[in-house]
């Protein structure tokens, strides 16, 4: 049974500042063993879409990177590109998005910020999946040639998975575009022409031209739609929905992709969930509504299932924030499931499946502490 460490969110003096808390993480045995001198260490983060306003402050990744480097590990920062045609779609814009958010390549990160599937989002190989839902998936070449990995996840809600946590970060962020298409294949877009007000905001985000035309004459071609969800993410009027039938399959595919990714890693992984600025939207959205729960701190574990389950429980137990969508939906009370209320989904099935295929366990030993702990 794995340990799940909870470093509490409140900071009341210098010894439990955000930076002290990050230092404390490196004293955890499970993490310390991954930070080996001269061994490559991928630090997987969520690069946000431009417009998303509540991304983790870069000082968090910067501190983790610096700490790993000081201990001699060959650390690098990585994330994948996006399937939809937004600000992280091609290599050039991905770099711009990273710089704009403060992941400054040269000064802090020694040119070690790199895309997991290369400048073209297609640098990788196809690997068979041991599962019932995916036959195989394409994984970016960075992951398959790295020693150890720290998965640093910014916790938010996710419209299809319920929770955007460690499994989401692991399962999608290392795939090439081809790999992502395989995971997204079971989803189907529902375009409601009755609701659509023909604003045309979605049009430039469609990579295939399935959503095409011009304001006033917008059409969706189902045959060329690749289910990237760009229109879904950007439609201001909820004229695009995902058909519910595909969602459970999608969740299982994400779990299987995550397991395959973990299996291809040469070394070991550690998962750090930052329950901070928890917004209804994921970092992939080009906007973000106010956080709906207070910052709860850091959940860390070598077991991604335990980390996500603990995270989910803490979100349920937490009060909601007045003035946020939690109030709109009447889930301000402690114990109400804000994730389910906001997204209509819960990560329960996904985590149960992950447990079933032995990725981890929802039973764990919870240890709490602060930056001042030994």
């Amino acid at each position: 049974m794995a340990n799940v460490y909870w470093i509490k969110g409140r900071s009341t003096h210098i010894q439990n500042s955000l930076i002290s808390n990050i230092d404390a993480l490196f004293r955890l045995e499970e993490l310390a063993t991954l930070v080996e001198p001269d061994v490559s260490l991928a630090i997987k983060f969520n690069l946000s879409e431009i417009g998303y306003g509540h991304y983790l402050p870069p000082v968090i990744l910067g501190s983790i990177f610096e700490k790993a480097r000081t201990k001699g590990a060959r650390a690098m920062l990585t994330d994948g590109g996006s399937l939809f045609k937004g600000s992280r779609y091609d290599g050039y814009n991905w770099g711009d998005s990273a710089i704009l958010q403060g992941y400054s390549c040269a000064e802090l990160f020694h040119n070690q910020v790199m895309q997991s599937a290369g400048y073209t989002n297609e640098e990788g190989n196809f690997w068979p999946v041991d599962g019932d839902h995916l036959a195989g998936v394409d994984i970016g070449s960075l992951l398959t040639d790295t020693g150890n990995m720290i998965v640093v996840s910014h916790i938010t809600a996710h419209p299809l998975l319920g929770l955007a946590g460690a499994l989401y970060n692991l399962g999608l962020g290392f795939l090439t575009n081809s790999g992502k298409l395989k995971v997204h294949a079971c989803l189907e877009i529902e375009y409601d022409t009755g609701i659509c007000n023909q604003c045309g905001v979605c049009l430039p985000y469609c990579p295939t031209g399935a959503m095409s035309g011009k304001p006033g004459k917008i059409t969706l071609n189902r045959h060329t739609c690749n289910r990237c969800l760009g229109c879904f993410i950007t439609c201001p009027h909820q004229a695009i929905r995902i058909k519910p039938e595909g969602i459970k399959e999608y969740q299982s595919c994400v779990v299987e992709a995550a397991q395959t990714v973990l299996g291809k890693l040469r070394g070991k992984a550690f998962f750090i969930n930052f329950i901070k600025s928890v917004t209804p939207q994921t970092d992939e959205f080009p906007f973000s509504d106010n956080p709906f729960i207070p910052d709860l701190g850091i959940i860390a574990s070598s077991d991604p299932v335990a980390a996500d389950w603990a995270t989910y429980q803490m979100i349920v137990q937490s009060p909601g924030i007045p003035g946020s969508v939690a109030q709109d939906l009447g889930v301000l009370e402690k114990g109400t499931d804000k994730i389910r209320a906001i997204t209509g989904q819960s990560p329960e099935d996904m985590l149960a499946y992950a447990e079933q295929i032995k990725m981890g366990s929802r039973r764990f030993e919870m240890l709490t502490g602060t930056g001042a702990m030994n």
Partner: protein
Amino acid sequence: MAQKSSKVWFAAAGATNWTESTICKAKDLFYAAGLDKCIEKDDSVAIKVHCGEYNRTACLRPEFVAAIVEEVKACGGKPFVTDTTTLTYHLYNNRCTAQMELEGANRHGLNWASLQAPFIIADGFYGEDDLRIELPEGNILKETYIGRGIYEADAIINLAHAKGHPITAFGGCIKNFGIGAQSKRGKYQTHLAFWGDPEDAIGYPKVNRTACKGTECAYHKMCEDSCPDEAIKVEPDGVVLDYEKCALCYSCQVTCMFTGMEGIGFRDDYFPLAQIAMADAALGCVKTFKPGKVGYMAYAFDIAPECDCFPWNGIYVAPDVGVFASKDAVAIDAAICDMIDKAPIGPNSRAEELGLKPGEDKFKAINAFTPRIQLKAGEKNGLGTMNYELIEYEPELNPENISKWQIRKTPMTVSPMRQVFKNHHLAREFEFVREPLDKWLVDWKNFDPTA
């Protein structure tokens, strides 16, 4: 019958006014040679450079690259600066994986902050992300493998640094594509890996039994360490190679060469064949672009006798020659080689040691074979023509040209300094302490040791 020739624009090194800065000349040539025509709006444009081995100081200065990044952007393109990973080729190599190469490039100043464009590695994390290109036109090679980042770009500017090379004699635009655009698979091919077998040994390490000092060699541990396949064992009477394991990566050969030893080397006729294969591989890279989407530029500055892949550099074989631009890879390299040969001999360089005179084939003397072998090979496979028309460019000195490439069009003395000096002028705001000058008009001579 008049032979077809290609235009090569050339601006000589040397400057005495604003318009003649190397940066200004490079930008002028970019347009003069029509390289702007290679780029359409929103094109993803690769700027291929040699990022240089760790501790090498002769490689392209970052601003030489930034200057071209700026013009690609001005044409509406989206530039990225790129290089590929290397074979292992020596035990302290720092460019074998993308991670190492990026870090080293950062130290060279090839990063977003300096370039204002991404610096990326074109062939993936370990150099195996590539696409294969058929080469029926090739002299020796019939296929090659190009780094995916380059293959997928819409246009490319081959931005070379002209210098020597111990194997290919010279490294210019042909080498920048012929080796530099290849993935690891492509490089193995171009280095004629597995061509023949150990007895024929074209690409295989050639052990020199008499020269190898075995365990007496001060570097024998380095020799064993240099093999990533652990195929080397050094015995008292010499090095022993397991040819079954050997991957023909060059580590042992180059490590031996770098230490000044002669135990492991190359077969003599390997060198000209390597030049020919390299010209084939360069064609492979060009074929991944639509016609008209490839431009060439080269800086013949800091002309070291050896390549930027060395972790040091020798004294330059000639003074700086100048900037070149063309749409023809063979023509530009031909012009560069001719101009370098014509140039004076670099004082204290290997060229001077060898007693060379201006006009003689410098790289042939220094590196054993003439660089014109790769030019001929490039001509035969259709890459270009050795027949060039040199267009010597000198910027005209006039106010418009002077302002053209400055950081701002309005002279700073007009704005903002006039406004600043209206508010306060350090020369007039207070009284400086003065000493009478009279005796100094004579006493200054006491400060002149030659008087």
